[in-house]
Amino acid sequence: MPRPTLGPAVAAALLFAGSAMAQDQSIIIQSTTSTANSGLYDYLLPIFQDQTGIKVNVVAVGTGQAIRNAENCDGDVLLVHAKPSEEAFVAAGFGTERTDLMYNDFVIVGPAEDPADVDGMDDVQGALMEIAVNSALFASRGDDSGTHKKEMALWADSGVDPTAASGEWYRETGSGMGATLNAGIGMGAYVMTDRATWISFANKQDYAIKVQGDADMFNQYGVIPVNPEKCPSVNIAAARTFADWLLSGAGQEAIGAYKVADQQLFFPNAPDN
């Protein structure tokens, strides 16, 4: 699909915005938490605002809630990480189009004593099975977020139904990534998290990454402008400008340049790049 370049998009934004420009030049992104909690937006958004004058306001919630909020027209851009749900969102007419933006991966973190003895495993299904067989504590998001959906898919692959042990060794916190990490670390449970949140998480205690490197733990982020046909309140020009910038050479370079503790958190992989 041909994507408008930055110049015309900005021109279009100026044209459409007209007299109400001052207030129209801000948009809301409904976002997953990992991109916000890891500080990526704090790094990216000032660069974008400098170049375009558009202020981007971030509402960071779980992917499931972000999608529902966007379906209620309470945002201009959706930036989440659950491809099937994103495609359903576009198919239902709520988004104009979905584009791969960047990726990182999921990891399973656990306490130093490693009760299920999974340290160093790179077979995630095998590791989950070990955790289940040993009835080792596992803290799940349980909140319909992108991470939770991914976790449930991995459990299904491993042939274990952890929800049968809900409240026993399988603990569903029903909260965000950070809250679940805090809870898991508090009770000595394994937790599956995206790498970006883990690297920038400050309350690690004796926890470390135990399972990583399985191709199935790939974590793809996508960006979707909200469709003005469904949501007339959307500032589509500014939303497109933002999405296009993220997917452009400049945006992709900025994403790749963001580091915490000398580690790159997100790997840009927009098409045409």
């Binding site: 509402v59 309470d74 805090n182 690690k204």
Partner: protein, 235 residues
């Protein structure tokens, strides 16, 4: 234990650095919650007063409902306000979601019942003392309400403070309708929730300490107004 000591140090460092971001968050917290408390008083006091002096059918039911609403869960209020203010909701055209106004609305709904129920109790007790006198003076209902509210003004200040305390301390409602947007709708409690989820427990706790100090400051200010006024009354 270590993180509590760290937090205290960090709280002091934050306050003395006069961090612009922190100041913005503190001022927004005060603006939202003080406004909500004021609006809740405007709504809640007259309702409390009317129920206090009124004798009508179903009054007991009203009392029970009013008292029960003091226990409104903030997250439920947040959801209700979200559903109304959402672009797809009945009031979506106002474009108020994710603004401080939305946060004020949610907190007002949360604390108006507290103001109404507590002021009802205060005014009813006072009315029991003055009822005979009011009757002998043939005061209208409005005059009675005015006299009662004026006479109980210092007790009612405490009622207002209870409302403010509830508003400034809650996170469930403002995080849903405000969205915790940086430089726009981030207040003390949502900032604390954010730092907790980032695992920065010391910073979260430091912000909590600052919130507590602010709450102390507001209460001390009101208390001093009250004492000054009381002194003058006896001069």
């Amino acid at each position: 234990m270590q993180s509590i000591i760290d937090a205290l140090g960090l709280a002091f460092a934050l306050v003395f650095s006069a961090d612009a971001d922190l100041l913005e968050i503190v001022l927004l917290s005060l603006r939202v919650s003080l406004t909500a408390a004021a609006v809740a008083c405007v709504i809640g006091l007259p309702i409390g007063a009317l129920v206090a002096i009124g004798r009508f059918r179903g009054r007991n039911a009203v009392l029970i409902v009013m008292n029960a609403l003091m226990g409104l869960p903030p997250v439920v209020v947040g959801l209700l306000v979200y559903l109304h203010l959402s672009r797809s909701g009945p009031l979506g055209f106002l474009g108020l979601l994710y603004t401080p106004t939305a946060m004020i609305i949610a907190q007002t709904i949360l604390i108006a019942p507290i103001v109404a129920a507590l002021s009802r109790q205060v005014l009813e007790d006072l009315h029991a003392e003055y009822a005979e006198q009011f009757r002998s003076l043939c005061l209208t209902r409005i005059q009675t309400v005015r006299a009662l509210i004026w006479d109980a003004r210092y007790s009612l200040l405490t009622v207002g403070l209870a409302g403010f305390g509830r508003a400034v301390a809650e996170v469930g409602a403002v995080i849903i309708v405000g969205g915790n947007i940086d430089h726009m709708t981030r207040v003390m409690t949502t900032a604390i929730a954010l730092e907790t989820s980032r695992g920065d427990l010391a910073l979260a706790l430091a912000l909590g300490i600052i919130l507590l100090v602010i709450s102390l400051g507001v209460n001390a200010a009101v208390q001093s107004v009250r004492m000054t006024a009381a002194r003058q009354a006896y001069v």
